[in-house]
C-alpha cells in the first residue's frame, strides 16, 4: 500500500521532472567528500508530514467570496 502510494507520488513528480533521481537510486549527492548533513526537507513545510497532507488539498471554498481566486 505504502509502496503504491510512493510510486504514484514519484510518477507525479516525474511528470514535471522526467530526469528526477529515484529516492532509492544512488545520487550524485550521496557520496559527499566532507561532512554531509542532509537534513533539509522542504522550504514550505518544517515537517515532512505537513507537506504530504497539504499537497492533496484543493482550493478552499471561501476563495471566491474573499476575492482570492
Amino acid at each position: 500500500m505504502l509502496n503504491a502510494k510512493r510510486s504514484s507520488e514519484m510518477a507525479e513528480k516525474r511528470s514535471y521532472y522526467p530526469h528526477l533521481a529515484s529516492p532509492d537510486a544512488v545520487r550524485p549527492g550521496d557520496a559527499p567528500r566532507g561532512v554531509c548533513l542532509m537534513t533539509f526537507q522542504s522550504i514550505l513545510f518544517e515537517k515532512t508530514e505537513d507537506g504530504l497532507k497539504k499537497e492533496t488539498l484543493e482550493a478552499p471554498i471561501f476563495f471566491g467570496d474573499l476575492n482570492l481566486d
Binding site: K13, Y16, Y17, P18, H19, L20, A21, S22, P23, A25, V26, R27, P28, G29, D30, A31, P32, R33, G34, V35, C36, L37, M38, T39, F40, Q41, S42, I43, L44, F45, E46, K47, D50, K54, P60, I61, F62, D65, L66, N67, L68
Partner: protein
C-alpha cells in the same frame, strides 16, 4: 497551516527573500531550471538518437551551472531562516560531493570532446559525402582576400540569414549519423553518459525549485503593491488569545486591481480587545463594508500560509477553519428559496464551526422582512457568541452592533459635507443609520424638498 511553528518557518524564509540580491539570484536559478526543463520537453519530441543526446548534455550543463551558481550565491548572503540555512548547507555539500563533481567533470569533458568534432561535407548533385576535416584550405578566406582590393565602400549584405533552430531534418540527421561513425569513441561515450546519468537531477534540488515558486510568486505580486507606498508586515500569530489587530490594512486583490488602473487604495484599521469577538459592519451601500469583511478573511488566510500581510502592524488568530456566508443566486436545483437557503447554509456553518473558527458573513437575510431579519439575526448571533469565535458580520441591521459586549460596531463613512460621497473608510464607532439617510433620500429624490416639488408638479 495549523501550527505556529510551521507559519514562523515560512515567515523566516520570506523575510530572508526580501533581500533583493538573494531574490534576484533565486529567480535566476529558477529561470535556468525552466530552460533545463524546456530542453527535456524538446528532447521528447526529437527522433534522432544523437540529437536527443546532444540536448540532454546541454540540459545537464545548465543543471550543473545552476547548482554551482546557487551554491555560490547562497554563500554570499546572510541568511537567518532555518529553511534556507538548511538548504544552503545541503546544496553546498551536494555541489562539493564526489558524485556531483564526477557528473560535472564528465559533462565538461564530453562537451570538450564533442567540440573537437570537425567534419567536411562534399555535396555533389544529390549525394553528400561526410569525412573528417583534415586541415583543408578554407577557400572562402582566400577568395575574400583576393577581392579585398576591389572593395570601394560598405555594400549591402546579400547573405541570407539561415534560421537557427533546435530541429533537425532527415538530411541533417543522416549527416549526424555519419559524423558519429567518423568519431565512434566520442559518440560511444555520449551514449554511455546519457545512460549512466539518466536520473541526474537531485530530488531535493528539484523540490526546492518547485517550492521556491510559492515565495517568489507572492513576493513579486506584493512588490508591485509596495511600490505605491502600501505596507506589508509579518503578523504575530496567536493560537489562543483572540485580540487581533491590523493597522493600514487593505484588500490585497482589490489593491492590485486599483493600482493597475492607477487608482488610489484606502487603508483601514481594526482591533478587537478583551471579550470583543465580532465586528458588526454597517453603513452606506458601496461604502467598503464587504471589502472590509474580505480583508479580515484574507489577512487571516494569508497569515496562516506564512505570508506577509497587508498592513503596517498586525496580530492575527490561528484559525482551524474559515467560513464565509456571502449572498448567492438562487439555485434552481435545490428547490430552496433565498431565505431557506440562507438558513440552511448558516446552520451548516454553525454546526461545523469551533471556538477556533472564523466566520465572515455578508448581508444575510436580505430577502425577508426587517422584523424577521432582526429575529433570525439575533438567533444566529446568540449561537456565534456561544461559540466564542471571531466573526465579521456585514449587515443593514444597526441594532446588531449593540448586541453584547462581544460585538464591536464598525461603520462605513461618508464625506460629511457631501454624504453621497463614500470615503471607503470603515471606522470603529456606534452605528448611526441617520448618517447617510439624507444621501439615500437624495439619491431616490425623496427629501422634503424633492417631495414638495413633486406634489407641486
Amino acid at each position: 497551516m495549523n501550527h505556529i511553528g510551521a507559519i514562523k518557518y515560512r515567515q523566516e524564509i520570506a523575510q530572508d527573500l526580501e533581500n533583493g540580491t538573494l531574490l534576484k539570484n533565486i529567480k535566476s536559478f529558477s529561470q535556468k531550471m525552466i530552460i533545463m526543463r524546456r530542453y527535456h520537453t524538446m528532447i521528447e519530441k526529437l527522433y534522432n538518437k544523437y540529437h536527443k543526446e546532444g540536448w540532454f548534455l546541454e540540459a545537464v550543463i545548465i543543471y550543473c551551472d545552476t547548482v554551482k551558481s546557487l551554491a555560490y550565491d547562497l554563500s554570499q548572503v546572510e541568511l537567518k531562516s532555518r529553511g534556507l540555512l538548511a538548504f544552503r548547507e545541503y546544496i553546498t555539500n551536494y555541489a562539493d560531493s564526489d558524485g556531483f563533481m564526477a557528473l560535472l567533470t564528465e559533462t565538461e569533458k564530453l562537451k570538450a570532446d564533442l567540440s573537437t568534432v570537425k567534419y567536411c561535407m562534399l555535396i555533389n548533385g544529390n549525394k553528400v559525402k561526410v569525412c573528417k576535416y583534415e586541415s583543408e584550405i578554407d577557400y572562402s578566406t582566400e577568395v575574400e582576400k583576393t577581392f579585398e582590393k576591389f572593395k570601394q565602400s560598405a555594400v549591402k549584405d546579400y547573405l541570407s540569414k539561415l534560421p537557427i533552430g533546435s530541429g533537425m531534418n532527415h538530411v541533417e540527421a543522416a549527416i549526424l549519423d555519419l559524423v558519429a561513425k567518423l568519431y565512434p569513441d566520442i559518440f560511444l561515450n555520449l551514449d554511455d553518459y546519457c545512460t549512466k546519468n539518466a536520473d541526474y537531477l537531485d530530488e531535493t534540488i528539484a523540490l526546492f525549485d518547485r517550492e521556491i515558486q510559492f515565495y517568489v510568486a507572492y513576493l513579486e505580486y506584493v512588490a508591485k503593491i509596495k511600490r505605491v507606498g502600501l505596507k506589508f508586515c509579518y503578523p504575530q500569530i496567536s493560537s489562543e488569545g483572540k485580540e487581533v489587530y491590523d493597522y493600514e490594512g487593505f484588500d490585497l486583490a482589490l489593491a492590485y486591481k486599483l493600482i493597475t488602473e492607477k487608482s488610489s487604495v484606502v487603508c483601514n484599521d481594526f482591533y478587537l480587545k478583551d471579550k470583543e469577538r465580532i465586528f458588526v459592519v454597517t453603513g452606506p451601500n458601496q461604502g467598503g463594508k464587504t471589502t472590509f469583511a474580505r480583508t479580515f478573511g484574507q489577512l487571516h488566510y494569508l497569515a496562516s500560509l506564512g505570508c506577509p500581510v497587508p498592513g503596517r502592524e498586525a496580530q492575527l488568530f490561528l484559525f482551524d477553519r474559515l467560513f464565509t456566508h456571502f449572498e448567492r443566486e438562487e439555485n434552481i436545483q435545490n428547490l430552496r428559496g433565498k431565505l431557506q437557503d440562507d438558513l440552511v447554509r448558516i446552520h451548516q456553518i454553525i454546526n461545523q464551526a469551533t471556538l477556533k473558527s472564523i466566520i465572515i458573513m455578508n448581508e444575510i437575510f436580505t430577502s425577508t422582512t426587517i422584523k424577521d431579519a432582526v429575529f433570525l439575526s439575533k438567533k444566529v448571533m446568540e449561537k456565534i457568541i456561544q461559540l466564542d469565535l471571531l466573526c465579521v458580520w456585514v449587515t443593514f441591521i444597526d441594532e446588531m452592533a449593540y448586541f453584547s459586549e462581544n460585538t464591536v460596531s464598525m461603520v462605513g463613512t461618508v464625506v460629511p459635507e457631501n454624504p453621497a460621497l463614500r470615503t471607503y473608510r470603515i471606522v470603529r464607532r456606534p452605528a448611526d443609520g441617520l448618517a447617510y439617510a439624507i444621501a439615500i433620500a437624495e439619491k431616490y429624490r425623496l427629501t422634503y424638498e424633492h417631495l414638495k416639488e413633486r406634489i407641486k408638479a
